[in-house]
Symmetry: C2
Subunit: 436 residues, 2 copies
């Protein structure tokens, strides 16, 4: 274990060569699935995602890491300083939304890879300080656009999603997660880490802690002019699947009074959902991003609409109250539009605090490095939202200009990315030496 | 020309054998693309539609008709009593909506085929009464679900839609009308009839008149307990394509105030459209049956929504006024949802009366046959909506139980179908003898 005084020394200071190498690699990686408008389209286990993963695997192997995949396609780059010691994991996800941004997730994986590679070189010559081994992680399918739900790889890893259910999940063309990952040869026969789901399996590696760096995907840091956000808590979320059931009819010939128009019902849900958010100010976010009309013909009154919607709040009591209000709203819409609304919980998580010792550790590192910082709460889910429930976890943000995310014009300054890598490197160094 | 007294004699009276043959053929035809719930799915130029067309072609050839296709795949069964005489056309369409009903269109084609086959046998032995030749017609793509717009085959035939544009129309998989019809060998190199679009082409056949029988797709006849509806006018329609343009963003992380949510804008359009209809009582129908969200991911605020919508009214002035109100509504929504709305006319037709002589002729026939009847206005578009603008036209309805249409539970009683065939047969007989 390191002494308190030693923790204030910077182990692996920034250097221009390392910074240039990081930016060059980020440019290389952003070419996988690059879109004309400057974003990326690299949905989980598509050709673009697989090519990017292959590139990362080579990068890791070239630097002495061992690459392994678990049974849901999470990808690990392992480096062992001392046999039998637990592992510090660091990473994020490389998959993207359709026409998404190039920073979301991908930045965090590359930052972890560069940070841990710098630590590899440092601790190979300072073995006396080492307490834990290290592993880069690229979580499978964080985005949940091709295969639902989001945070699937870390969800299975942390026991929140069934492995079998995840592998059988189909995309819109009927391809399963199992098929897509098997075809790429990126599905392990065994797991790699003991995440608490396994009993007495000596082959599985123990985990010490987890760290993740991500762009903020909001405008708090950008507005405040701060570089580092230390995530101290998450918003809770309720995600729902809705079916609005009406009756198919001719748009021209059917009198308005006779219609059971599923799309009219669904439209009232979308409008009511926004009004619900407006009634809570900034304490509730509501969204509907996916809505599919059946049969979706110009001259047919829709018989069914399938929707995904979510409620997010920093306050679990508000989520509960809003859920009850939704039920009343749906009952009103059922009468007004003469439709049936079926509501199912798709995925839900309570608001939670992040590991307080992780917040303290990263705050100390950021202060030692003299970087501007503030505490933030994350509205979006991240793989760390899952990981913090099983191991001590650090979650850090760098700014997104104008808060743009899940869009091709998502943008973060190179300088901020570089500072983020330095902060992550130093935080991970202290985690390797036994902090957390 | 026939004398008035002769017009009151029934040429080809109903007989049990003909009725049974009709119902048997209707059952056979309804098997093409039959769905488990009792409907059909036979969208234009799909395998099911093509198989049904092949069946009809054989049926016609077996009875001495000549089968021909024009340059947009309209299908004709020609029978010539006397060279050089114009043709009486009768028919409808055999394509269906996705999971549509088995009566819509298909009944009218089969009724025309049986009626004209009965007339063929009658006039082959009564040549002295013949003024016109006869042709069954099965219009291509009346429904407009696979290839837009609706009434495409009759639209090209009557010069309202460009042949080139129609042939280049793509379905959602990128297959064109030209490709789909060519693959089935159902695209003629030349046209068959002179519909007024051609100048001095001696090979094209002249047209005398047109008759169409269809289910009502509304509940006027069913409510009134009448068997025959004599269509005296159409509702006008404005069909629009809309693009609602927002900005893609993360549903979790993006503050509500920062969103430019295309789906929120589109939902307000759908709700506003219904409110517009409600404000006019029965004088205005509004519908949105097709709405496509881009990118349609659960955690992404939609950047774009593509919609098809229509306004229909018996009163052209109301259509014009409603169009102006829509423009104001869209301007309000653009502000409220921070989106852009682009509105394009996709297709439009004015309210029009049907040929008054056609109304008189069919009324006289129905009275001679002693069948209950009333005048009706059609809200739906039909191929006759196009045909009535170029030749004298008769349009007749039989009841739809509960007004159901464009749905698998569309239903018309066998007895009503039989009466419809008798009325059509007698109406066409008088048209063959020169009425209209």
């Amino acid at each position: 274990m390191s002494t308190p005084s030693a923790e204030s020394e910077i182990r692996v200071p920034s250097n221009p060569e390392a910074d240039a190498a990081f930016l060059a690699d980020f440019t290389t990686m952003s070419a996988f699935g690059a879109t004309a408008a400057g974003g990326v389209e690299r949905q989980a286990a598509t050709d673009e995602d697989i090519a990017n993963r292959r590139w990362l695997a080579e990068w890791l192997i070239d630097r002495g890491f061992t690459v392994a995949y678990d049974r849901v396609g999470n990808m690990f780059g392992l480096y062992e300083f001392a046999p039998g010691r637990p592992y510090v994991l660091a990473g994020s996800h490389m998959d993207s939304q359709p026409r998404g941004g190039k920073y979301d997730g991908a930045y965090g994986v590359l930052a972890a890879a560069h940070s841990l590679d710098r630590l590899r070189r440092y601790y190979d010559t300072h073995p006396e300080a080492v307490v834990n081994n290290i592993a880069v992680v690229n979580w499978f399918n964080e985005e949940g656009s091709r295969f639902k739900p989001s945070m699937q790889g870390s969800g299975v890893f942390t026991g929140k999603i069934s492995l079998t259910v995840a592998l059988e999940t189909e995309d819109s063309a009927g391809v399963t997660v199992f098929e897509a990952l098997s075809a790429a040869n990126m599905l392990g026969e065994h797991d790699v880490f003991d995440s608490g789901e396994h009993v007495n399996d000596d082959d599985l590696l123990p985990i010490a802690s987890y760290a993740e760096m991500h762009i903020e995907q909001g405008r708090e840091l950008d507005k405040a002019g701060m570089i580092m956000g230390i995530v101290d808590s998450t918003w809770g979320a309720n995600k729902y699947e809705l079916s609005v059931l009406g009756h198919q009819a001719h748009t021209g010939a059917t009198a308005i009074a006779d219609r059971q128009d599923a799309l009219y019902g669904a439209a009232q849900v979308v409008v009511g959902l926004r009004e619900l958010a407006d009634s809570y100010g900034d304490d509730l976010h509501t969204s509907c991003g996916q809505l599919t009309v059946i049969p979706n013909s110009p001259v047919v009154v829709a018989r069914e609409v399938e929707m995904h919607m979510d409620l997010r709040s920093p306050d679990d009591a508000i989520l509960e109250e809003a859920d009850a209000k939704l039920n009343r709203l749906f009952a009103e819409i059922e009468v007004r539009a003469d439709v049936k609304i079926e509501k199912r919980f798709a995925h839900t998580w309570k608001g939670h605090t992040y590991t307080p010792e992780g917040v303290s550790l990263s705050t100390k590192v950021i202060e030692d490095l003299g970087v501007s910082h503030m505490h933030v709460r994350t509205r979006a889910g991240h793989d760390s939202t899952n990981m913090k429930d099983i191991v001590p976890t650090v979650m850090l943000f760098i700014p997104s200009v104008d808060g743009v995310s899940h869009a091709e014009n998502e943008f973060t300054h190179d300088d901020d990315m570089i500072v983020g890598v330095d902060v992550l490197t130093e935080t991970l160094a202290r985690m390797v030496e036994g902090a957390l």
